[in-house]
């Protein structure tokens, strides 16, 4: 306990005496964790939006031609009975046609008029199925496909797939940059500690002569590394928290039209992962950097 106190005091002193290296190390870790955080926030929001889009689109169920309303009702009840099905909405052929007209020919009345009252989507009445858990989508689709009277089931899996492959490219690039910065951080911390050990060579030899244990001598340097790592973790967290609120606020304020698609992950939820992740990485790097340096330079 007293050893820990001593280690803390001396560790802080080390950082003060080694300001340039310490700042460089803190800066690099901060940059690295900022990037990591940014990446995490972007990806998690992206996934969140895709997720939302998916569940909004849901699953569309089309029926066999010439099916009776009775049968359609029966299918609807069967679907509703499935697990994780939240809502089933019946879209009649007329509604489908109207929607289609609205989307395709808005402002071009004359074209839609050519069809007159002849509904080309005569057999296109459908159910839109909304799920409470999209990850279960494939299973539900499979179940519905096997029901009597069901002609076709459309689902948005393909959309998610293409978004996914775009995602993975960003993932690789970001991961590369993050790993590079992590390595630079470890190098800077171990250099910082090595300089500290060189500067304090006399002190270390004196301490060894008066019977200081290895731990007692090493602890200040380990504390130095961990504190640098901690500082390097806290700075980007604060920065990200601040920016996140600002940017989300700005987007929602200025692009309210898009707010149906732009649903953001709450900051508390982001930080539930980001906070422990950043702290663990920062402290881990700090410890690793100083530990490797201490092991290399403090052999008696």
């Amino acid at each position: 306990m007293r050893t820990l106190c001593y280690g803390l005091k001396q560790g802080i002193k080390n950082i003060g005496q080694n300001r340039l290296f310490s700042l460089a190390a803190i800066g690099t870790i901060a940059a690295c964790l900022f990037l990591l955080g940014l990446f995490y926030v972007l990806v998690s929001n992206f996934q969140h939006m895709v997720f939302n889009a998916e569940s909004a689109v849901g699953v569309t169920v089309f029926f066999d031609e010439g099916i009776s309303q009775e049968q359609i009702k029966k299918i609807g009840e069967e679907i509703r009975a499935c697990k994780t099905v939240e809502k089933v909405v019946y879209i009649s052929a007329e509604e489908a046609w109207e929607n289609f007209q609205k989307e395709m020919y808005s402002g071009e009345e004359q074209i839609s008029d050519t069809f007159g009252d002849d509904n080309p989507l005569k057999d296109s009445s459908s159910y839109e199925v909304y799920l409470s858990d999209v990850s279960n989508q494939a299973g539900i689709v499979h179940t519905i496909e096997k029901m009597d009277g069901v002609r076709k089931v459309n689902s948005s899996g393909t959309v998610a797939d293409s978004l996914g492959s775009f995602n993975s490219l960003i993932t690789y690039i970001s991961a590369g940059i993050i790993v590079l910065l992590l390595l630079v951080s470890v190098f800077l911390i171990s250099s910082s500690v090595a300089v500290g050990i060189r500067v304090r060579k006399d002190e270390i030899s004196i301490m060894q002569h008066i019977g200081a244990t290895d731990l007692f001598i090493k602890l200040p340097f380990l504390v130095e590394g961990v504190l640098i790592g901690l500082a390097g973790a806290v700075i980007p967290l604060v920065l990200l928290g601040f920016l996140y609120q600002r940017i989300v606020g700005f987007i929602l304020g200025h692009f309210s039209v898009l707010s149906r698609w732009l649903t953001f992950v709450g900051m508390a939820e982001e930080f539930r992962v980001l906070l422990p992740l950043s702290l663990a990485v920062g402290v881990g790097i700090g410890f690793w950097g100083s530990f490797s340096s201490v092991r290399k330079h403090l052999r008696q």
Binding site: R2, D202, S205, I206, M207, Q208, H209, I210, G211, A212
Partner: protein, 232 residues
């Protein structure tokens, strides 16, 4: 000599540096509890090597070294810090920490042992008085004379009340007057029960103090006399 009387017992001790230099050759030496011993010899004769060996800083190549019943030649690396706490050591260059005041320098030896803050304060105060540095607790090493710095170093070496005090040319950087004061201080520590081993080039002091004198030459022990004089 009775086994139990031997505080330090060296038998056929050889010590080699990593580059192969054999700096101590089959040394046999027995030191009793409470003795005051001078180690003399020309430059390069192995005096510092002798001190370093007792500190557990150099591995014993052959032979056996036993200090207070502990076998130094068989000691594990992690045991050495604890062993060193039974010794006090003083060097020619004082080796005080420049960024800490005299109080903190002396207190460091007790902090290492995990002594409580209040007791550290009391013990350091007592040591400062003993070496005549009361009132200098807040001074930094550069603000003290060489003699005062060495007295602070002795205070640091003695604050944990070790049974043995090792001094490697403690007066090498001091003028004759200061040298005498330091030697008197070491003698005082010896009078209070500490076994004291002093490496020195100061023939005048050695001749006057009439203590046991061990002479080294090229790593060999060539003379060991009670109440000896300085022979080069």
């Amino acid at each position: 000599m009775d086994e139990q009387e031997r505080l330090i017992d060296m038998q056929d001790v050889s010590v080699r540096y990593p580059n192969g230099t054999e700096a101590l050759k089959k040394l046999n030496l027995h030191i009793k509890k409470g003795e005051f011993l001078f180690v003399v010899g020309s430059s390069g004769s192995g005096k510092s090597t002798f001190i370093k060996t007792l500190l557990g800083e150099l591995p014993v190549a052959s032979g056996s070294v036993s200090v207070s019943g502990r076998r130094l030649d068989k000691m594990k690396r992690r045991e050495i810090p604890y062993y060193r706490r039974s010794l006090g050591v003083v060097f020619q260059e004082f080796r005080l920490l420049d960024d800490r005041n005299i109080f903190e320098n002396i207190a460091l030896a007790q902090e290492i042992l995990g002594v409580h803050r209040l007791r550290i304060k009391r013990n350091v105060g007592m040591m400062l008085e003993m070496v005549g540095l009361q009132g200098k607790a807040g001074a930094f090493p550069q603000e003290l004379s060489g003699g005062e710095q060495q007295r602070a170093a002795i205070a640091r070496a003695m604050v944990n009340r070790p049974g043995i005090l090792l001094a490697d040319e403690p007066t090498g950087n001091l003028d004759p007057d200061n040298s005498w004061e330091i030697m008197k201080l070491l003698e005082e520590m010896n009078r209070l029960g500490t076994t004291v081993i002093v490496v020195t080039h100061n023939n005048e002091v050695v001749d006057k103090m009439k203590k046991r004198v061990v002479v080294l030459k090229n790593g060999n022990l060539v003379s060991d006399e009670e109440q000896g004089g300085y022979i080069q």
